[in-house]
């Protein structure tokens, strides 16, 4: 019985793995695809247009970067490189649009690179604000969302009705609730659901219409309840640094060999909105307001209400973690700046932490394993 459930769960996870790490957007892809660069994107508006939002999380460590190196400066992170490569080598040729946001200077350049190289795709910046603290902020986000709405309407050749957006909000609210449940398991019973498994389940959603993803998540949550677990003695840690460029699966596995990751910011854009978006009233306003008042945090969004050190301490408290692993992707300036501030804060709080640097394209993890094990050993020797 439980064995069958386990087998079914594995089959489900294999599907998710295939979807999650799938880069291709072929010409005949249907529904048509609008790609966006991390972190957050108001997918509901794209969904309501009958298109499929497609989160671009780089090429991973399986693709070979041949063309993009000639287009991008030396000291720029891997996700910009590999995403450009996927464009130049035709992997994303079926994409109808590309959106980047002002999360960092490199990301803003992606819109320019895309516009120069792929004139047939709509390539734009969605200018989400870096000032979340003005009385005028919500109105501006609202206006920018309305701009997006009309750009997409032109793309599909018909207006996008409030009703349609409201329906999408409904689907996404459920999706976010299911993701919160998943993370609840990771926090309360980490042996039941590994971070890699949770990761694959969440990332699969970036390759599906959300209603299909909801089916998968419901199924997974059901199967997980029947799972047999062997509790193991591993330190509980939170993981930071996965909000944009994605650490390779090997890296997450290397960490979980020695620790339980009980909370993280992996794919944080997928659960950026922390509570249900109101399903009545003007749906675009509801989305804008949720972005400003009910959203997560990352090194690339400034909000005076969310000092990074405080947010980390809150995360550690709520996850009942004893230590933190704060990573940064190579050349990711926002993460590197925060990494130092967070380290100083953790020193002050006397909370053990491990600092790691990664690249999505890395393939050897020996040195990382040594560091993670040493860290775990130092925690277990307490």
């Amino acid at each position: 019985m439980a064995i069958d459930a386990e087998a079914a769960l594995m089959t489900l996870l294999e599907r998710c793995h295939e979807l999650a790490l799938r880069n291709e957007v072929p010409d005949d892809e249907y529904p048509e695809v609008i790609g966006y660069f991390p972190v957050y994107f108001p997918e509901e508006i794209v969904h309501a247009a009958g298109l499929r939002p497609h989160a671009l999380y780089g090429g991973g460590n399986k693709i070979e970067v041949r063309l993009a190196d000639a287009r991008i400066g030396s000291f720029v992170c891997s996700i910009c490189r590999s995403t450009t490569e996927l464009g130049l080598n035709g992997t994303l040729r079926g994409m109808k649009g590309f959106f980047a946001q002002p999360i960092c200077d490199a990301a803003r350049h992606m819109a320019g690179i895309w516009g120069r190289n792929f004139p047939r795709q709509m390539s734009q910046l969605l200018l989400l604000p870096q000032n979340a603290n003005s009385p005028a902020t919500k109105r501006y986000v609202y206006d920018e969302y309305q701009r997006l709405r009309s750009e997409l309407a032109t793309q599909v050749g018909h207006e996008i009705s409030d009703a349609a957006i409201r329906a999408s909000v409904h689907v996404y609210n459920e999706n976010r609730r299911l993701q919160r449940e998943l993370y609840g398991i990771k926090r309360d019973d980490p042996a039941r659901l590994s971070t890699v498994e949770a990761y694959l389940l969440v990332r699969a959603g970036t390759r599906l219409r959300r209603e299909e993803h909801n089916v998968i998540l419901r199924e997974a949550l059901h199967l997980l309840t029947e799972r047999r677990v062997h509790p193991r003695d591993k330190p509980r840690v939170v993981f930071l640094g996965g909000f944009c460029e994605q650490p390779p699966l090997e890296m997450i596995e290397t960490i979980e060999d020695a620790c339980f990751i009980v909370d993280d910011d992996l794919l944080i854009g997928q659960r950026w909105i922390l509570a249900d978006v109101p399903e009545e009233g003007d749906p675009v306003w509801a989305l804008a307001e949720s972005y400003v008042d009910r959203s997560a945090w990352s090194p690339v969004q400034y909000d005076a209400r969310k000092p990074k050190g405080e947010m980390l301490m809150q995360m550690i408290r709520e996850a009942r973690a004893e230590a933190a692993i704060i990573t940064a992707a190579k050349f990711c300036e926002p993460a590197l700046d925060d990494q130092l501030a967070l380290a100083h804060r953790l020193n002050a709080e006397k909370i053990p932490y491990l600092v790691l640097e990664f690249e999505e394209k890395m393939t050897s993890f020996e040195q990382m394993a040594m560091q993670v094990e040493t860290f775990a050993e130092s925690l277990l020797f307490q």
Partner: protein, 272 residues
């Protein structure tokens, strides 16, 4: 009978050639770099003279190229190796439109115009600096002489994938793969493929136009030649004197000057 000289002082080797009035190579010499580039240049020049069987007075003009070009005290003129490799390649293969040179310090792709002039060139960006040194790193990690790397790589059956563009990380990667028990030939082939890929992207940067001529010492590595032909999808011109191309180009520039009636003033002092 008047002669000219081309001296190419690179980071790992010094090369010298003597050309006659028709631009034929009548003497050549190659030296592994020693701690003083200036004296290396003088020694390689002396050896080249000896192999040509002439003495310094017979040399009308000398052009120096390569990173050490300003260390060549007896040089009458300095020209960068970009122009020199282009000139040498075109002399060897007149239909050359693209030149690739893998050097110790820089890898260069050069686009040649219809009249043999340099139209555009690209060099590796900083983080891919010394792609040529990948091989040095490999020989360091595998404790094998450079000359044996190519042949061994050819034996590969399942090459590993080297993802990094950085020589430093590459070394760690090699050691990692070897530690995991991958066979040296497969790791080596992986290295060669990584280099070939990077060079190809550099060539594309200047626009890949046939014919392509491959110059510099690495062109003697048959594994590399085979791979480059594969990734570029066209044959490469490789001269038996490929590693002298810079020096020969320098010699040809010297010949222009000699023909224009300019005469060296510095050779005698430097040598006597």
């Amino acid at each position: 009978m008047q002669y000219v000289a081309g001296i190419d002082v690179g980071s790992t080797q010094a090369k010298g050639v003597i050309l006659d009035e028709q631009g034929n190579v009548v003497g050549e010499a190659l030296l592994d770099m020693e701690t003083n580039m200036g004296t290396a240049a003088e020694r390689v020049f002396a050896l080249a003279l000896a192999s040509a069987g002439i003495d310094a007075d017979a040399v009308a003009f000398t052009v120096a190229t390569g990173y050490g070009r300003y260390r060549v005290t007896f040089g009458d003129l300095q020209v960068t190796e970009i122009s020199c490799h282009a000139r040498g390649a075109v002399a060897a293969f007149p239909a050359t439109r693209t030149v690739l040179d893998i050097g110790g310090q820089d890898t260069k792709a050069i686009r040649i115009g219809p009249s043999g002039e340099v139209v555009d060139f690209a060099m590796n960006d900083k983080c891919a600096a010394g792609t040529g040194r990948f091989l040095g790193a490999a020989s360091f990690a595998l404790e094998l002489p450079l000359s044996e790397l190519g042949p061994l790589a050819m034996k590969a059956t399942t090459p590993v994938k080297i993802t990094t563009t950085c020589t430093v990380f590459a070394e760690t990667e090699i050691i990692g793969h070897l530690a995991k028990g991958r066979r040296p030939e497969d790791v080596l082939m992986g290295m060669h493929q990584a280099i070939a890929t990077r060079c190809a992207s550099l060539v594309r940067r200047v626009g890949l136009t046939p014919e392509v001529t491959f110059t510099g010492g690495v062109s003697r590595n048959e594994a590399m030649v085979a791979l480059l032909q594969e990734v570029l999808g066209m044959p490469l011109n490789v001269s038996p004197r490929a590693h002298f191309m810079g020096a020969i180009g320098a010699g040809l520039y010297a010949l222009d000057n000699a023909r224009a009636g300019r005469r060296s003033v510095r050779v005698r002092e430097a040598i006597s």
